[in-house]
């Protein structure tokens, strides 16, 4: 059972990681990165690393996309 969960997590990580690379627009990439972070958190959780999963959620799904989005907004404002 736990092997099936880990397999799903690994496939999810591989698929969403590839999606991050294949997304060319930075704005869309910020969102896809958030989902990639979530998939990593699920992988850590499936391997019973609850502490690491929590850190991954707060950094990968909250802090990183937010900073990327704000930077993009700043760059666009300066271009106007």
């Amino acid at each position: 059972m736990s092997e099936a969960v880990i397999a799903v997590a690994l496939v999810w990580v591989a698929a969403s990681g590839t999606a991050v690379v294949l997304t060319r627009d930075p704005l869309h990439q910020a969102f896809v990165t958030g989902f990639f972070g979530l998939s990593l958190a699920f992988l850590y959780l499936s391997m019973q690393a609850g502490d690491v999963a929590l850190s991954q959620i707060v950094v990968g799904a909250i802090a990183l996309p937010l900073i990327v989005l704000l930077c993009l907004a700043k760059v666009r404002k300066d271009r106007e």
Binding site: G50, D51, V58, A63, L66, K74
Partner: protein, 252 residues
């Protein structure tokens, strides 16, 4: 360097990297095989020795407490560096965007968004406090709780506007919590020296395993790290938000 020479150089370097990486990966324990001897030992002794149920907390804040001390100061240095880098430069000013159509007011966020922000921000504060106080019992601890607490302020920004966040954000308090949190870690470490033992020795009463107050300095260090990370991440977010909202090039 010609293209050919570069390719040869790359081939040699790539072959060397592949050989060392392959040798290193071949020496890893096979996938899914349980835990090293060190991990097994800590799983055995951490509970009885430190009266905690989350062994990861015991490792990060006690057995390997000095590592976490340095990590905390890395975060402090990063936040200080961001604040210096993102200050208004000599050719920039802080100014809210000029209203080009004063007769058309910007509609406030809809009541649904506002209600969601109120609910979510209080929920985030509650979960943050729960995570930081239960660090010795369940997964989570100061770092995670700090980011959760800090994200409350983003939600308030989403539900209101920049001016409200700017007005109610206690800048002095945030900077103080960042600094006091970082310094507090060192002070708790010094308690060990005062007791005549090594730096960061767990000298505070350990309490009963499974209680909220247990683990001695582990619980206290969780609190100081939570304080530092919460302050640091709000400062970080507000510096980026300032850049986006109010810092602009001076008009010539």
């Amino acid at each position: 360097m010609s293209r050919r020479a570069r390719l040869v150089f790359f081939a040699v370097a790539a072959a060397a990297l592949a050989a060392t990486l392959g040798a290193g990966l071949a020496g890893l324990p096979s996938f899914g095989r349980q835990v090293s001897a060190y991990a097994r030992m800590l799983n055995e002794v951490a509970g009885p020795q430190r009266h905690v149920t989350d062994v990861v907390s015991a490792i990060t804040f006690d057995y390997r407490g000095v590592d976490t001390l340095f990590e905390e100061f890395i975060l402090l240095a990063a936040v200080a560096g961001i604040s210096v880098l993102l200050r208004p430069l000599s050719d920039e000013i802080r100014e809210l965007p000029e209203d080009k159509a004063p007769d058309r007011a910007i509609p406030p966020p809809s009541p649904a968004v506002w209600l969601l922000a109120v609910l979510l921000s209080s929920l985030l504060a509650l979960i943050g406090l729960e995570t930081v106080t239960h660090g010795v019992l369940t997964p989570g601890g100061g770092f995670q709780a700090g980011v959760i607490l800090a994200s409350g302020i983003y939600v308030i920004y989403l539900g209101t506007n920049y001016r409200t966040v700017e007005r109610y954000q206690p800048d002095a308090l945030l900077e103080a919590s960042d600094g006091i949190g970082a310094a507090g870690y060192v002070v708790i470490g010094l308690l060990g020296l005062l007791a005549g033992d090594a730096f960061l020795t767990n000298v505070v009463g350990l309490g009963t395993t499974g209680n909220l107050i247990a683990g001695g300095t582990i619980a206290l260090l969780n609190l100081t790290v939570g304080l530092e990370v919460a302050g640091g991440f709000v400062i970080l977010a507000s510096e980026f938000l300032d850049q986006t909202a109010v810092i602009r090039a001076r008009r010539r």
